[in-house]
């Protein structure tokens, strides 16, 4: 039951991220200059139609708004390639309010999901590739190479991952195009995450290579790489799948932390980290405009979903006991 809820949560977010251009009423950098830090517009039923009411600025200094209940703006469905939008361009539909630049938080959260989730997934896959390769080779060959690889992984695993990522990122030029940042961050995360995969894969490969089927393959004249990739690594598949699921949330949070301190994606790009960075320019900002924290809620839901999906199967190493 819990697992199903978890899987449903993760799938829902993945779909939302994939269909962001349709689900989001606006693009990630559309600004409404008259609506800075405006609260969410809540759609409600008026007659048979869903309508919203415009916000009227009460205090420019404190950025306080008042609902203009004399007007009802109808929502328009399936228009201009969006699922839903406001029928009056001057009264935007902002389901989660706007940020301090007047951008729609809901739209940015969906586009941010694309950045954050894909970065988490790509980094985790990178870590799996590096880790499975290193662990597989170390476990299959043994000897000095095994020693060197495993000592290195032990060393990296002891270090606080966040500081390793921070140090590696901050020695690169600060201002980089978004695509370069994406590649750079996923490479850094893959390196930091790989040892966790390598250790387990090595243990599995070591214990499997003495089993009959591996010895039989060797007797039939199969080459080393063939035995490793065709026969031994598939034995580690369960472990790898679980570790992949465990790494993704860590990387999503790592991106958010780096973006939070200004070392992640450059400004117009929406990611959950850059959104939290904008929200916390100072504490008063998100205390007064709590909807700015919605990317934090989004992150919580994704991590919760991944954790629930893994309930009861923690390691994938049970076969070794």
């Amino acid at each position: 039951m819990m697992r199903r809820i978890g899987i449903a949560l993760v799938v829902a977010w993945a779909l939302a991220a994939a269909s962001a251009p349709v689900l989001a009423p606006y693009s990630a950098d559309t600004r409404f200059a008259a609506l800075l830090n405006a609260p969410p517009t809540v759609p409600h039923l008026s007659g048979a139609r869903l309508t919203i009411q415009p916000w009227r600025l009460v205090s420019r200094l404190e950025q306080q708004y008042d609902r203009d209940s004399s007007r009802e703006i109808a929502l328009r469905w399936f228009a201009h390639g969006h699922l839903v939008e406001s029928s009056d361009p001057a009264v935007p539909l902002t389901l989660l309010g706007t940020d301090s630049f007047g951008r729609d938080v809901f739209s940015r959260m969906l586009f941010g999901a694309r950045t954050s989730l894909s970065l988490g997934l790509v980094s985790a896959i990178g870590a799996v590739v590096i880790g499975a390769l290193a662990g597989g080779v170390a476990g299959y060959l043994g000897g000095p190479l095994d020693d060197v690889l495993m000592r290195t992984s032990d060393f990296v695993m002891v270090l606080p991952a966040m500081y390793v990522a921070l140090a590696l990122r901050s020695v690169m030029p600060l201002v980089l195009p978004a695509s370069t940042v994406f590649v750079l961050l996923s490479a850094i995360f893959a390196i930091v995450g790989a040892p966790f995969i390598a250790r387990g894969v090595r243990a599995i490969v070591r214990s499997e290579r003495t089993l009959d089927y591996a010895v039989a393959a060797q007797a039939l004249g199969a080459s080393g790489p063939r035995i490793l990739f065709r026969h031994l690594l598939p034995a580690a598949f369960g472990f790898i799948a679980i570790q992949l699921t465990l790494l993704v949330p860590g990387f999503i949070v790592a991106e958010a932390t780096l973006s939070f301190v200004g070392l992640g994606f450059p400004n117009p790009i929406a990611s959950w980290g850059t959104m939290l960075h904008d929200a916390s320019a100072n504490v008063r900002v998100f205390a007064d405009f709590p909807w700015l924290l919605s990317p934090a809620a989004a992150m919580f839901l994704v991590v919760l979903g991944l954790n629930l999906a893994l309930e009861g199967r923690r390691t994938g190493l049970e076969s070794l006991r």
């Binding site: 060393f155 695993m157 002891v158 270090l159 606080p160 991952a161 966040m162 500081y163 921070l166 140090a167 590696l168 901050s170 020695v171 690169m172 030029p173 600060l174 949330p249 949070v253 958010a256 932390t257 939070f260 301190v261 939290l276 916390s280 504490v283 008063r284 998100f286 205390a287 709590p290 924290l293 934090a296 992150m299 919580f300 991590v303 919760l304 954790n307 629930l308 309930e311 923690r314």
Partner: protein
């Protein structure tokens, strides 16, 4: 046991030297240097050259590194270019703050997480078990980045606790009460997810232990259930938690980075961030050195503790 401790000590020493050296070299080879970060992009070429000369940045990398290493042996950690003060003056206070934060969080997590884990692991079902388990799963999905944002949000909305500004002008010199008040939010932010992790681990460990023959035998001899669980089974089930203690310190430091930045706790994390972005190589190396000393001490302690609990790991 002595040989084991010596081996672990050697690893600890290697860890400290390797981490501080690596971070120094990394900061050196990074594009841009402290003179640029200090004087800004509009500084004249001559001014930059003078600054490089003064801090010895114009020498080859190997010479700079060797010189730094020689000075470190004499406990001279160089001068911070960002603050124009000796690194050895800047670091102790910040390092102490991070240590206070990390230790408070760890103690809190241990004394809350472990007993709750024993409760949930020994009682199947029931309202209490399910409530604790649910709470743990929720908290496990909230890394310190999120808990600290949430707690700071709560503190700012309710005004119950101060946000940032420890040892502010109003409380010159600080005092224990000031530190405690400011400590609550960041320590809870790191401690809560950690407590949840300990609860889950301990719950599983003790559930496995109470199924063992020796527990059943003890119960059969008429020893009260409460005493069997809290004295005999608890002791035998501590290994998994003891085993993660060494790795937890890395997690603690990682978590405390985000928390220090969000809650404005004046620890080593913020200093490291500033030093890195200013390319303040000696300060970077100093921060990394202190961090790795924490790490080395903690892994050493947890290794020894684990070897004590479980003699098999000494081999």
């Amino acid at each position: 046991m002595t040989a084991y401790i010596v081996r672990r000590l050697a690893f600890a020493l290697f860890l400290v030297v390797a981490v501080s050296s690596a971070s120094l070299v990394l900061a050196e080879i990074a594009p841009g240097d402290a003179s640029l970060a200090r004087l800004g992009p509009t500084a004249s070429r001559q001014a930059m050259e003078r600054a490089r000369e003064r801090y010895g940045l114009n020498r080859p990398l190997a010479v700079q590194y060797g010189d730094w290493l020689l000075h470190v042996l004499r406990l001279d950690f160089g001068t911070s270019m960002l603050y124009d003060r000796p690194v050895s003056e800047l670091i102790p206070e910040r390092a102490a703050n991070t240590a206070i934060l990390a230790i408070t969080a760890l103690v809190f997590a241990t004394f809350v997480g472990l007993p709750l884990g024993v409760v949930t692991g020994t009682r199947r079902g029931g309202l209490l078990t399910n409530a604790i388990r649910g709470g743990s799963i929720v908290l496990l999905s909230m890394p310190p980045l999120l808990t600290s944002l949430f707690l700071v949000f709560l503190a700012a909305r309710t005004g119950w606790l101060p946000i940032g500004g420890m040892r502010s002008a109003t409380t010159a010199g600080g005092g224990v009460l000031d530190v405690l008040q400011h400590l609550l939010v960041p320590a809870a932010a790191i401690g809560l997810p950690l407590a949840a992790m300990f609860e889950r681990l301990q719950s599983q460990a003790i559930a496995e232990t109470i199924a063992e023959p020796f527990v059943i035998a003890t119960l059969a001899r008429g020893v009260p259930r409460r005493r069997v669980i809290w004295r005999d089974a608890l002791k035998a089930s501590l290994r998994p938690v003891a085993a993660v203690y060494g790795l937890v310190v890395g997690t603690l430091l990682s978590g405390s980075f985000a928390v220090e930045v969000i809650t404005a706790w004046p620890g080593i994390g913020r200093l490291m961030l500033d030093a890195l972005s200013a390319r303040d190589v000696y300060l970077v190396a100093g921060c990394a050195g202190v961090g790795s000393v924490f790490l080395a001490c903690a892994t050493l302690l947890s290794d020894v503790a684990l070897a004590y609990v479980d003699p098999r790991v000494r081999e």
